[in-house]
Symmetry: C2
Subunit: 274 residues, 2 copies
């Protein structure tokens, strides 16, 4: 069983809130790293001579109060004090390997762009929609296919998935305030009810939840151990459900076929016989 | 710009090949962790009294030579020697927090199930297809919606995405052997050509690549700086392209509509008049 599993990575959502990340280098690759790290609410130190800064890196440095910038080269282990993660993206392969060794000695997780053996972790192709984050990794086999797959997934995602997740997260916190405690029967009932809500409502219905509707959902739903419909808590759909595809894709094609078939048969049968 | 980014995690593909992962606990949650970690080719130590083992955990222990099992409780910092990552999934909240503190003092990345502040990283809902790995994270807002989204993505993925990635990975290695070197103009040409192959061929065509076809693709394509078609390197499509949906979904419904329409009209027109 186990032998079929291997060959992959452990995909993780690393927590960096208020942690310190050192980025060595400021070019194209580094600018992408900066964005990924800012997403996770880290503090960033960038070390790179000003001549090597990509315009986007420069923009981040100018606009974010979470970034400290040093216009110089990496100086040595003193640059690693109190650092929680190191990302390097410089052309100097020797220097990169040296930084990697120092990080490993200090047990600081490190990624050296383009040198896989010097990476404790890889980055993947990513999608972000509010609280929803998706990563596509091909384990280094094909970054281009990762990108193609990312675009396909982006197109297939429900338009309001991020909103729906945010609303469900709020509902969940409100429910926890109303029925607090970790584990036990209450915890199980809470989890069961949240699952019922998520499976009974469409994604675009969940995205419509406002404070008043949440209140009603908890008062009339949770308290009576049932899941009211959107309309029963005062909500109103503004469009066809994303999941069902509406009339256009489900009925249009067979309808056109039906009309075409009926017309053809009528033409055949009503045609004047010669 | 930066202020709109925050609130998320840094999604990573963590490398664990031949690293040592300690899992404290052996229940339901732990069994899921074991699978994720085996995917990444780690060595695992499981510490858990036999009475607490989930049948699946027991199955992994019996079948994998990468797992060392100790039938006892966590003993203290001596259990953390030479450990690269710690995952705990036990009911004892106090004990869990203690283990977390020890790990942080030793700078060992740690995840304590169900206690977010004691987690350096979270897990997400995952998809695996050979070298392709996808993680869906809702940053703790709604595991259920993460699951629902995972299932939707699974349905929307091209059937042979994993195979296609594997073949492209092989082609890339062969190209690197033929035209070696890091960076520079050759590196750029190599990358450009690989991108051209990935965008010119459909995913299901890439999945068909065998050694002979790769050879031809490199001889006739790379050497002449062009991308031959599948048929030109001896390949033959066995089915409609995955992306286009094939006959079934594109033509079946209108065809049924056509037949139904024709039949109805025939019945109307041929019915005996009374």
């Amino acid at each position: 069983m186990a032998s079929d599993l291997g060959g992959g990575s452990l995909l993780l959502a690393w927590q960096l809130k208020n942690k310190r990340v050192l980025i060595v280098g400021g070019g194209d690759v580094a600018s992408g790293r900066i964005e990924s790290v800012l997403v996770a609410d880290a503090f960033i130190t960038i070390i790179c001579p000003a001549s090597g800064l990509h315009p986007l890196t420069r923009k981040y440095i100018d606009s974010s109060d979470r970034i400290t910038y040093h216009d110089r080269l990496f100086a040595g282990s003193e640059d690693l004090v109190d650092v929680d993660m190191v990302l390097t993206a410089v052309d100097d392969v020797e220097k990169s390997r040296e930084i990697c060794d120092m990080c490993r000695a200090l047990r600081i997780p490190v990624n050296v762009a383009d040198i896989p053996p010097s990476c404790d972790f890889y980055f993947g192709s990513q999608i972000r929609d509010g609280p929803l984050q998706i990563m596509i990794s091909t384990n280094g086999q094909s970054p281009k296919l990762a990108n193609i797959i990312r675009k396909r997934i982006e197109r297939s995602l429900p338009a309001n998935a991020g909103d729906a997740i945010e609303k469900v997260g709020e509902l969940r916190s409100q429910l926890k305030e109303r029925a607090p405690g970790v584990g036990g029967d209450l915890g199980k009932r809470r989890m069961r009810w949240m699952i019922d809500v998520c499976t009974s409502w469409e994604m675009d219905e969940l995205a419509l939840l406002d404070d008043e509707m949440m209140q009603k959902l908890l008062d009339e739903g949770w308290e009576n151990n049932l899941v009211p419909k959107l309309e029963e808590v005062g909500g109103k759909r503004v469009q066809a459900p994303a999941g069902s595809g509406g009339f256009s894709s489900q009925l249009l094609l067979p309808a056109i076929g039906f009309i075409a078939g009926a017309t053809s048969m009528a033409l055949v049968l009503l045609a004047p016989r010669r």
